[in-house]
């Protein structure tokens, strides 16, 4: 019980830091990282519903993420940068994601896990090809840039002081960037909270039962295919919503930011690092991975400079080799935290 509590404390600390990050980290890039962490926590948590809780392996999660993002991007590019178009685009993306998830789910969740994984892989490949081929509509490989709603523009004054200038709180300008960040933060936090409710509900126990012993879950009266399809739809729509939110933040949507298999692999790594089937682990995994992607090179640059007097070491620590070191860190994490960080803390180090 105490172990679960310590995982919750770590994850809530992360959320706490994210809540105050515009004040704690005032650099533009740092706020960018914080927003990315928020979105990826949701993305990873929704993927954990599938792989960790229900035992469904899907490679189509970035496709659903992309559907939400492209829905918003196309609506705001073709239409205008108003909330109306954001809502229309987000709803369209979520709806298409839900329909696709139902179709894929009902058609193929009866087959063995490996075939299901292959089917999702095929669907995701098709989505990627379509996005790059229908370039008049999707911007092709280059993607699309568009404006975000006016309230998110840096020139927007959320609060003004006596002279009509942008007010500052704790030295931070209350402009549109703050509004955009808190839009990302609160929508992500709400989605994460909803998923926590789901895994803590009777449905959550059924999902775990399906993962543990599908035949027996069926035997005590649960329609396994219906439950699997339902959770697949929940995960898909959540990913699509996260995509819609991220699209509003980035003001750019392209294959590399939403649809690519590199992101799919990132999500998989984040789930494994955080701990499958723990939900709270999503916050830990996503944070560590995003931080490593953004800051490992900087860190290595410093380390490389600091060791410049020593032979060989600066070469090894050269920022160009950051992927090598990311790999090493990953191997060490898996070795010392075989059930992921949250999973290993909860289950204890025994065995």
């Amino acid at each position: 019980m105490n172990r679960t509590l310590s995982v919750k404390i770590i994850a809530l600390t992360i959320w706490g830091l994210l809540l105050f990050s515009p004040f704690l980290f005032q650099d533009v890039r740092q706020v960018e990282v914080a927003a990315r962490i928020c979105v990826f926590i949701v993305l990873v948590a929704s993927y954990d519903l599938l792989i960790g809780y229900t035992g469904i392996v899907s490679f189509a999660h970035t496709m659903f993420f992309g559907l939400g993002a492209y829905g918003v991007a196309i609506a705001m590019k073709q239409g205008d940068n108003t909330w109306g178009y954001w809502i229309v685009g987000a709803l369209a993306g979520v709806l298409v994601a839900a329909v696709l998830a139902v179709l894929i789910g009902l058609l193929s969740l009866r087959v063995k896990a490996i075939f299901f994984a292959m089917i999702t892989l095929a669907a995701a490949s098709v989505a990627l090809v379509l996005a790059s081929q229908l370039s008049s509509f999707t911007g092709g490989e280059d993607g699309m840039t568009y404006s975000s709603p006016d309230i998110f523009k840096p020139a927007t004054k959320l609060l003004t002081d006596d002279e009509g200038k942008v007010a500052r709180i704790a030295g931070v300008r209350m402009n549109g960037k703050i509004a955009a960040y808190y839009f990302v933060f609160f929508t992500s936090a709400v989605m994460f909270w909803v998923m926590l409710r789901i895994v803590g509900s009777p449905l959550g126990t059924v999902l775990k039962a399906i993962r543990e012993n599908e035949a027996r879950a069926e035997g005590i009266g649960y329609r396994v295919v219906a439950y699997r399809t339902a959770v697949f739809v929940i995960a898909a729509t959540t990913a699509a919503l996260a995509g819609a939110v991220y699209a509003a933040w980035l003001k750019y949507t392209g294959p590399d930011t939403t649809l690519s298999f590199a992101i799919m692999i990132d999500i998989l790594l984040m789930v494994v690092i955080g701990g499958m089937g723990t939900m709270w682990g999503a916050a830990i995994g996503a944070t560590l991975m995003v931080l490593a992607q953004y800051y490992l090179r900087d860190l290595m640059e410093v380390a490389s400079d600091a060791t410049s007097a020593i032979p060989l070491l600066p070469e090894l620590l050269s920022p160009d080799r950051w992927l090598l070191w990311l790999g090493i860190i990953f191997i060490l994490l898996v070795y010392f935290f075989p059930a992921g960080i949250a999973g290993t803390i909860i289950r204890g180090r025994a065995k």
Partner: protein, 266 residues
């Protein structure tokens, strides 16, 4: 004598709750269960005996939907269950415990039972209410924990239980489904002598609730004698004897196939 005859007549007048008609399954050229027709009545505990490979578990699997019969039918209270999925059959009140332990290993003992309770209560689709707030579910699950003497192990994962306790949990899962038809497949297999009576007492209790129908596959003759109202014998997939325990166990045909002429059953 007279009282016994009256009781038997009454028993036959009660409408069967579960029937199989010419139930047959073939795997390739092998007929595992061949045209078994049998009625099971409420308040009656039927023990199914037969040598290994006689088709007892296969017969069970067809009734509870793990296997789909090649031909024939299964009916419960006038509803045709033959082509239904295992989950539909479970929702129609046919509960099944398995011969090999078949639990949710990483979930706690309490969660295992709660799953069966919430399946029965139709609460599995509640996706937003924390389990902790559904105290009725937990209270019901705890009743079955107590009945099976597993209360002190409620928070352990099922995989951590000793074999005997896992068998008890298997029975608790079945009880928590609150079915009309209870199917036990060798409930005491591999259990130590001090654990087995717990399980047998539970089965006896279910039997005393006269609205329930109990089917039991069992090898141990003392168990059969203690519990059976009726015995049916399967051999090579066919029903070869059906009747009163004393009658069936002393019949020549049963001695021949079941004991391979080895001698007295008693």
């Amino acid at each position: 004598m007279l009282a016994g005859a009256t009781e038997q007549n009454l028993n036959h007048m009660i409408h069967p709750s579960l029937s199989t008609r010419d139930l047959t399954i073939r795997f390739g050229g092998h007929t595992a269960v061949n045209a078994v027709t049998c009625d099971f009545r409420p308040g009656e505990l039927t023990v199914i005996v037969g040598p290994n490979g006689a088709g007892k578990t296969t017969y069970f699997n067809m009734i509870s939907g793990q296997l789909t019969p090649t031909s024939g039918s299964v009916e419960k209270d006038g509803v045709d269950l033959t082509r239904m999925s295992a989950s539909q059959i479970a929702r129609h009140g046919v509960g099944r415990a398995f011969q090999l332990t078949n639990l949710f290993p990483q979930l706690s003992v309490l969660e295992n039972i709660r799953l069966a309770v919430q399946a029965q209560a139709g609460d599995g689709r509640r996706f937003f209410t924390p389990v902790a707030k559904l105290s009725e579910l937990t209270a019901r699950a705890e009743r079955y924990l107590e009945a099976t003497k597993l209360s002190d192990k409620a928070e352990l994962p099922a995989a951590a239980l000793a074999h005997g306790d896992q068998r008890k949990l298997e029975v608790a899962l079945l009880m928590a489904m609150e079915p009309d038809i209870y199917m036990f497949d060798e409930p005491t297999a591999g259990m130590s002598l001090d654990h087995a009576p717990d399980v047998l007492d539970l089965i006896a209790e279910i039997k005393h609730d006269h609205s329930k129908t109990v089917l039991l596959v069992e090898h141990k003759m003392d168990v059969v004698r203690a519990l059976a109202d009726r015995i049916i014998v399967l051999h090579n997939g066919e029903l070869i004897a059906d009747g009163d325990p004393g009658e069936v166990m002393s019949s020549q045909v049963v001695k021949d196939v079941y004991l391979g002429n080895a001698g007295e059953m008693a």
